[in-house]
């Protein structure tokens, strides 16, 4: 056997000494009352004391009492010495202080043994500063990210590969009426009406294997959510996927658009009503921009101009009064143009124009131009009306 591969019983005391003095781990041996009996070179490097400065003195010099914390080193050394290795100080750091005053959280492990007939604590000490700092910044980053998701204004619901819910934020609780505890681990589809569930599950599955990382779910029509109380509601949903550690997470970002949809419906209804009045009015009526461009023209108006399809966008005076004209010469057209300019300045203009029809008869048209102003008094529209008063 070579020197490096012999069994323990054959190793010389010098070999052991070399090991203890060479390991990078700080090793301290202390008596049950805390008196330091041994201090290896790694301890000297970590705590900046030479062994001569500490041997025979109490270990509390290395772990001095803290003003804001009552952890007592001797109490805990004794306690940990009788605990299994894996639970000792796992989450607990003592604060050591080096000779120069540097304080550091230390991971302390201890066993109690007899050596030369005396009870001794065999202690290893490791500077935990970097590890705790990393842990703290990881915890802070994690807290920040989860808090952003938790209090987001969108309902955020995550699910695993099996489409079971793994995260349900506060807005989602409010939107769906469930508590996170009620839905975690249950199928995502419970948040949709029965009739959509099958198709939805297939879509999520397809999204999972597709190349896009995020997609709006409304592209294929409205998405309907189902609240705990059975009520259905319109949602706007985007879905994202993230694969971490080989496991996919789907996340739905949902917005309850009940109110917006209701407002849209009201607006549509209002538009329908005004359109009905406008289009079914007996009088020719329209809407012009202040420069005279036709924005809207009603059915009676189209009849008067004999129904050319493309009237919107033309100046009123250029409308093809098909087969007829305002006058044989250009003066009537010019008069209408001037009247519109007057209305654009804010005047209500009213006059009677003659419409010469192709068949030869002359129709008298009562024309009025009413300016519509905004809150600042600016003319934004002109409402032209025409009535046959022949």
């Amino acid at each position: 056997m070579t020197n490096l591969t012999r069994s323990r019983k054959d190793i010389s005391p010098a070999f052991f000494k070399t090991i203890v003095e060479s390991v990078p781990e700080a090793i301290i041996i202390a008596a049950p009352d805390g008196t330091i009996a041994y201090f290896n070179p790694a301890s000297e490097r970590l705590l900046e004391y030479t062994q001569d400065e500490v041997i025979g003195r109490n270990i509390t010099m290395l772990v001095p009492p803290q003003p804001d914390r009552r952890a007592d080193v001797m109490k805990w050394l004794e306690r940990w010495a009788h605990e299994p290795d894996e639970t000792q100080s796992r989450f607990l750091d003592l604060i050591a202080q080096s000779k120069s005053g540097r304080q550091m959280p230390v991971d302390v492990r201890v066993t109690e043994r007899e050596i030369e007939g005396e009870r001794r604590y065999f202690i290893t000490v490791r500077d935990n500063t970097a590890r705790r700092r990393e842990q703290a910044s990881f915890k802070e980053a994690h807290l920040k990210a989860s808090r952003i998701l938790q209090i987001a204004e969108d309902g955020i619901v995550s699910a695993d590969a099996a489409q079971n819910i793994t995260f349900f934020n506060l807005k989602a609780e409010q939107m769906f009426g469930y508590r996170a505890e009620d839905v975690l681990g249950r199928p995502l589809s419970m948040l949709l009406p029965e009739r959509y569930r099958h198709r939805h599950a297939k879509e999520v599955e397809a999204f999972g294997t597709g190349k896009q990382a995020s997609r709006k779910m409304n592209e294929r029509g409205a998405v309907v959510g189902l609240r705990k109380n059975g009520e259905e509601f319109p949602m706007e949903v985007a879905i994202t996927k993230v694969t971490v550690g080989g496991a996919i997470t789907f996340t739905a970002h949902a917005r309850d658009v009940t109110r917006r949809k209701h407002q849209e419906d009201l607006l549509k209804e209002s538009e329908r009503r005004f359109r009905a009045i406008f289009d079914h009015a007996f009088e020719a009526m329209g809407l012009l921009s202040p420069d005279g461009t036709v924005l809207e023209i009603n059915r009676a108006g189209r009849l008067m101009t004999e129904g050319s399809s493309q009237l919107v966008g033309l100046p009123l005076w250029d409308l093809p009064w098909a087969g007829s004209d305002l006058a044989p010469d250009d003066s009537a057209r010019q008069r209408l143009k001037n009247a519109i300019a007057d209305a654009a300045r804010g005047d209500v203009v009213r006059y009677t124009a003659d419409l010469y029809r192709a068949e030869g008869d002359v129709r008298k048209i009562d024309i009025s131009l009413t300016p519509v102003k905004d809150e600042l008094g600016q003319v934004v529209y002109i409402v032209p009306e025409g009535r046959d008063v022949t």
């Binding site: 009552r70 989450f91 703290a136 508590r179």
Partner: protein, 106 residues
């Protein structure tokens, strides 16, 4: 559900409904309330869920056992109101409980 108000060291208040049966620490984690870490996951093996229980509630929360008292050795700025929030079980009797988080947990 029991209403609990967590007050951060800077005064930010979080009034939330915590499901009964959870610990006060778990309630904070559920709502991602800053200032309570719970490193050991509620095993009373660390001191990172240290809170100060409001005076009015001090004697109404579940009493402290020996292990918790020991673990508080590792908390910072411990006083008579100090508790490890993982050791306080939420129940309807605690409706309105107020706890404050310390300046630091580690």
């Amino acid at each position: 559900m029991t209403k609990i108000t967590y007050i951060e060291h800077d005064g930010t208040e979080h009034a939330v409904d915590v499901p009964d049966g959870l610990s006060v620490m778990e309630g904070a984690v559920r709502y991602t309330i800053p200032g309570i870490d719970g490193d050991c996951g509620g095993a009373c093996a660390c001191a990172t869920c240290h809170v100060y229980v409001d005076d009015a509630w001090k004697d109404r929360v579940t009493p402290m056992n020996e292990l918790e008292r020991d673990m508080l050795d590792f908390a910072f700025d411990v006083n008579d109101n100090s508790r490890l929030s993982c050791q306080i079980k939420v129940s309807p009797a605690l409706e309105g409980l107020i706890v404050r988080t310390p300046a630091r947990q580690y």
